[in-house]
């Protein structure tokens, strides 16, 4: 079985949202993904990292966001982790159009995007400890 792993850490600055999605996309390129698969991954990673920055660290810019990605044969697992405020009510947070910050002009679609564009999404969160998202996607493309 083929396997591989990568890990990156960066400050919770919004400038790093594009870095994060491109880094994961670059790692995934070894699976010869389709353009659509790559876009799915980039969009889901962008949503997760944005959540950590806005909600987890409340825009403090001093937090650390960690990303770990694993490849096992055709399956990608991406783990995105912060040590921020945590999510009060995960079920509510995951509802389409719900946002805890209506003042920020957010659409409340972040979790819906992750859920739709990835094959599997698990959310673990603890108040004042942080949040950990585990997303999986199986690549259909031939390599």
């Amino acid at each position: 079985m083929y396997d591989n792993m990568m890990r990156v850490e960066f400050l919770s600055k919004s400038e790093n949202e594009s870095f994060a999605r491109v880094a994961v996309a670059a790692f995934v390129s070894q699976l010869d993904p389709t353009i659509e698969e790559l876009t799915d991954i980039k969009t889901a990673v962008s949503e997760a990292v944005t959540n950590s920055i806005i909600h987890g660290y409340e825009n403090s810019k001093e937090g650390i966001v960690k990303i770990e990605a694993h490849i096992k044969d055709k399956e990608l697992t991406v783990i995105i982790e912060d040590q921020g405020t945590g999510i009060d009510n995960i079920e509510l947070a995951m509802q389409p159009l719900y946002t805890s910050r209506p003042d920020l002009e957010r659409s409340g679609m972040g979790f819906t995007v992750m859920d739709t564009f990835m094959d599997n999404l698990t959310v673990e969160s603890e108040k004042n400890k942080g949040t950990r998202l585990i997303m999986k996607k199986v690549f259909r493309s031939l390599s």
């Binding site: 969009t43 962008s46 957010r106 659409s107 679609m109 819906t112 995007v113």
Partner: protein, 111 residues
């Protein structure tokens, strides 16, 4: 993100290019709102043809402008959206309230 503006009749067209995420959204929002307020325009057309990536922050930007213009009895539409970006918009059901056009001329005529 790079923005270019064009006034056509009583409408403002904004041509956007680059990646629209949470980081770039603030700048996009501020620049468009400044322009709308400065020239007192209530009809906005957003050209997405050169937007190469967008996450749900883009939905927030469009719905935000919709709400702002709706209060002033104005309107907004979007044009020339590539498929990858369209898929994100579609999740929100936004096309029920905001029209999508294939080209700018059509948007200008109908808005």
């Amino acid at each position: 993100m790079y923005l270019e503006f064009e006034n056509k009749d009583d409408k403002l067209i904004v041509y956007m290019s680059g990646e629209l995420d949470h980081h770039s959204a603030e700048e996009v929002r501020n620049k468009i709102d400044d322009r709308l307020d400065r020239d007192n325009i209530v009809k906005l057309i957003m050209d997405f043809s050169s937007v190469t990536f967008m996450d749900s922050s883009g939905i927030g930007v469009v719905i935000g402008r919709y709400k702002k213009l709706n209060l002033k009895k104005g309107c907004i539409c979007i044009a020339k959206v590539r498929n990858s970006v369209k898929r994100v918009f579609e999740l929100s059901g936004m096309f029920k309230i905001i029209k999508l056009y294939d080209n700018i001329d059509e948007a200008v005529e109908n808005i």
